[in-house]
Symmetry: C2
Subunit: 241 residues, 2 copies
């Protein structure tokens, strides 16, 4: 039995030396990987470049950006022995579509209607700086335009409706009611079996309040990363049986 | 004798979970720290959160963004025992001044002249999203506006004209002549004693071509990170005597 665990954060390149990064440490993903491996699963650990790395006999696949993750996820899901996906990675919701200085941008949007400005911003890919090289350090201002990246989580059940899918939702400083509500919406939308909903203000190192929401809208609350990892092993193993 | 070594990359927060990051690994800084410590220096290692960490009895000071680096550099330079600064850190040249979606931005810049557009982009700080919280993941586009961050390197000799200063210049895919020229300009401008100039295309793990430029415009070329670290110890120790 194999399980895919994604962990850490993606990073999208702005240029050769600058990135748009998600700050997840991958610590929870690491603990999940170790817990599943200790319970006899073959773990496929797809992780951001700065994520914590689990100990043990685990297949580790580093990825940079969303497109790398998409490719590796698709490849891993081809394996019929995969029974579940713990999608803990903080995936960038946006790509970098262009970088320009303020004058370059202003050249295109001066004297335009609101509608035209929005259209130009939406189609600015071919303008701005060459991002294969390093963008200069002496611009008086830079406009980094971002466009939506493909979503990874809806792809999973589309490709493999038989796997058990755990999604993750991180919000910042919201009520528990709102957190559970948003987490449950994610579950319904992406056909997750579970969603682990958490709030950044309740994460302090390994002390980590996480609510594991089920498809009947009930949820169980854990207090540490270790407890979340153990809880996931128990829930997945129950379903796999 | 104390030496300050900066290492790794800074990261500027876009919101609570997203950053603008510089990708330096801090590997060269780590090797410099270890080489100086082995030569009897007390090393103050100011490093980005993902930088390699040196072994040995070294004071380690983690920093996030440019302002943290500025504060820690100023504090460290107060110590009269500091004789040199190896400023290897990849410091962000830009801050995040605002994040907005395309409609928010367009509301402010529709039907404006080029000059007004540039002015509005330059003063957009108070507009856009509240960045204390996480920015939503379902915007059809985001405009991240960046403004110049304070430069750290000119501050060093201003505060302590007596320390030996090594600056770093990284370019991407340029001729050796251009690289040396740009490196020498950095040296003159910031009153560096040396500048280590390197090109990203000539950095492959520990194989790392680095040109150590002196204030007489001559330079010495090294082939590995280890050789660069050893070269810096030799040059600094010669000057300190």
């Amino acid at each position: 039995m194999k399980i895919i665990i994604t962990s850490g954060g993606t990073r999208e390149h702005i240029d050769n030396v600058r990135t748009l990064s998600n700050t997840s440490s991958g610590r929870l993903g690491q603990l999940c990987a170790e817990a599943f491996a200790q319970s006899g699963y073959d773990v496929i650990y797809i992780h951001g470049v700065h994520a914590y790395i689990p100990n043990g006999d685990i297949l580790k696949i580093p990825v940079e950006g969303v497109l790398d993750l998409e490719r590796e996820m698709k490849a891993a899901l081809m394996d019929p022995d995969v029974v579940g996906v713990i999608h803990a990675m903080a995936v960038s919701d946006y790509f970098v579509s262009s970088v320009s200085n303020f004058e370059q941008l202003a050249n295109h949007i001066e004297n335009k209607t609101k509608k035209d400005v929005v259209h130009i911003l939406n189609t600015f890919e071919e303008h701005g700086f060459d991002r294969v090289h390093k963008i200069g350090s002496n611009e008086s201002g830079l406009a980094v335009l971002l466009k939506p990246a493909p979503k990874i989580i809806p792809m999973i059940k589309d490709l493999r409706s038989d796997v058990i899918l755990v999604g993750f939702k991180l919000l910042v400083d919201v009520s528990e009611t709102e957190l559970i509500d948003v987490g449950y919406k994610l579950l319904m939308k992406n056909h997750c079996d579970f969603v682990l909903a958490n709030d950044l203000v309740n994460i302090k190192g390994d002390n980590h309040i996480g609510h594991l929401i089920q498809d009947d809208h009930t949820y169980k609350t854990f207090q540490t990363k270790q407890a979340i990892a153990a809880g996931l092993v128990a829930k997945i193993s129950e379903r796999v049986k």
